[in-house]
């Protein structure tokens, strides 16, 4: 299965999402709603995406965008799965049961963004200390040790 067949297949699977499915730079991007993320991830795993490269998040103000990077050794292809969770209730299903790699990756996202992964076996802070206040990579994070550079441009 190559990347165009994959696209057709996914468009069949997710008809309402087809316009959002694009192929940029050879890597597919699949946008799903947060409640369908786990199902989509399972589908992709069954299609042969056996590696979870990374899980990360981007703070877009009202919402956080979660970015999952999947890779398939067989198809020699990568795909992004993106989903959005609201800022006031950042909760999403963990994919730890599909890829063990999600364990530390999701812990890092929890540590940096405060996004809670339902079903994660061990959701603790990973890089920061357990008693840290706040989530540093949120755009509204304030800490006196962070010195903003003046907007000289």
């Amino acid at each position: 299965m190559d990347i165009t067949e994959l696209r057709e297949h996914l468009c069949g699977q997710y008809p309402d999402l087809c316009p959002l499915f694009s192929i940029e730079f050879g890597d597919g991007v699949l946008l799903v709603t947060s409640d369908r993320l786990h199902a989509a991830a399972r589908d992709l795993k069954d299609l042969g995406f056996d590696r979870l490269g990374m899980v990360t998040a981007v703070d877009y103000g009202e919402e956080f965008e979660l970015v999952y990077r999947l890779q398939s050794r067989e198809m020699r292809a990568g795909i992004f799965v993106k989903t959005r969770v609201p800022r006031d209730e950042p909760t999403i299903d963990s994919v730890n049961d599909l890829w063990a790699a999600a364990n530390w990756q999701e812990r890092e996202v929890y540590d940096m963004f405060g996004i809670v992964f339902d079903g994660h076996p061990d959701l603790r802070r990973i890089l920061l200390t357990d008693d840290w206040v706040g989530y540093p990579l949120r755009k509204d994070y304030e800490n006196p040790t962070i010195i903003r550079r003046p907007d000289y441009l």
Binding site: D50, M54, R76, W99, A100, A101, V116, L137, L153
Partner: protein, 399 residues
């Protein structure tokens, strides 16, 4: 259940604690059954290869559970990048993987180039391949030597360091720095090769495989080293894939996956090289894969040095590179095969001169997550050897 918490704005923001009132280090709760000992290794310990703390539950000398505690070197580079222009982030990427700075430079620059649509001149691509393969050799020397030192053969360390020293000397004459190079820049590289550098590089490449074979003989052929590393820290291929392991850690387990061949980038498709793959997934295979990779890197460097002659000297920067990059809004991800595995950089731009978000997909972070899995059931002596064979660089793990 852990409740999500927003940053409380009315509450006083946390300040860096001064040493006198720093809270006592709290031991995480480890299931304590029967007659076990909790041993705390690190964060300052000779064999943690940086600042890693490992909390080990020992039954006699058998490791029942090893819990890595990371973050001691967390500098918030991803946050710092949001506050700097695209070019100013390059020196920060040096500090990610301080054993192989060229990789983080390159991965970041590729993401920027993809985001801004910059085409890099071919000569610069060749130079990038050459320096990154040299960096792979330098970085693997830093993994093979300490593998010997972890088992107690301190002499092997000096022999591999001799080779690393030669590479670092080459880098010093190339860009003036020995550790944090800041050499690969968006759009190309910072300097062209100095006079006579190609000859020096050829000399190095000519002598390196013989030196590697010598190390192969006296370290990997040593009966005690084999007894200490064969069948230790076994990681099977399915686990390696599932845990997102990459690089020599995955290839030692027989996962034949190398981005240079499987997701070819830059000018790698033009070179003829093979990917060494282990079969047992033990410490011995993981370490030996690195040794053969260093030899393969020599082949790539020779071919790239030959290919370099075709291009006019001086064309090392993309035409019309602005001083200040302001890419279109959007995101880009690119990854390269670093010495530790697939190193990716994910960049989000909001159209301003600073990255809106930078995420480094660090191979060392993913590989280190395997430690509890692969060290369980082996002895304390094996634990440090296993940790060394995962080759974590904590600048990259903690970021």
């Amino acid at each position: 259940m852990i409740e999500p918490q927003d940053t409380p704005t009315d509450q006083a923001a946390p300040v860096a604690p001064d040493l006198d009132c720093a809270p006592d280090v709290v031991m995480p709760e480890v299931i304590h059954e029967g007659d076990t000992t909790i041993v705390n290794i690190g964060p300052s310990h000779p064999s943690t290869h940086g600042v890693c703390r490992v909390i080990v539950e020992l039954d006699g000398e058998i490791v029942k559970h090893a819990e890595p505690v990371i973050g001691h070197l967390h500098r918030g580079i991803e946050k710092m990048a949001e506050n700097r222009t695209y070019l100013q982030v390059v020196p920060l990427t040096d500090r990610l993987d301080y054993v192989g700075s060229m990789y983080a430079n390159w991965a970041y620059c590729r993401a920027v180039e993809r985001l801004a649509g910059i085409r890099v001149p071919e000569r610069a691509e060749y130079i990038r391949v050459i320096v990154c393969e040299l960096q792979r050799i330098a970085s693997h020397m830093m993994a093979i030597g300490p593998a010997g030192a972890d088992t107690g053969a301190t002499s092997a360390f000096m022999y591999t360091f001799w080779q690393r020293e030669l590479v670092v000397d080459l880098f010093e004459s190339l860009c003036g720095a020995r550790l944090t190079y800041n050499y690969v820049r968006p759009g190309g590289v910072s300097f062209d090769l100095p006079d006579g550098w190609i000859e020096k590089c050829r000399e190095f490449v000519a002598q390196h495989p013989a030196a590697m074979l010598e190390i192969d003989r006296f370290l990997f052929g040593n009966v005690i080293f084999r007894a200490r590393t064969k069948g230790i820290g076994v990681l099977d291929a399915d686990d390696a894939v599932s845990w997102g392991a990459s690089g020599p850690v995955a290839r030692g387990s027989g996962v034949d996956w190398d981005l240079r061949r499987d997701d070819p980038y830059s000018v790698y498709p033009r070179f003829d090289f093979s990917i060494p793959v282990g079969s047992n997934g033990d410490v011995y295979d993981r370490t030996r894969v690195r040794l053969w990779e260093a030899i393969e890197s020599c082949r790539i460097i020779s071919q790239a040095l030959d290919g370099l002659a075709e291009f006019e000297p001086g064309t090392i920067k993309a035409d019309g590179m602005p001083r200040l990059l302001a890419p279109r809004p959007g995101d880009a991800y690119d990854h390269i095969e670093s010495a530790r595995g697939s190193l990716g950089v994910y960049l989000v731009s909001d159209g301003s001169v600073r990255p809106y978000r930078m995420k480094v997909r660090s191979p060392a972070f993913s590989n280190l997550a395997l430690l509890p899995l692969v060290s369980e059931g082996y002895t304390l002596s094996d634990l440090v050897v296993i940790l060394g064979s995962l080759d974590p660089v904590f600048g990259e793990v903690d970021r």
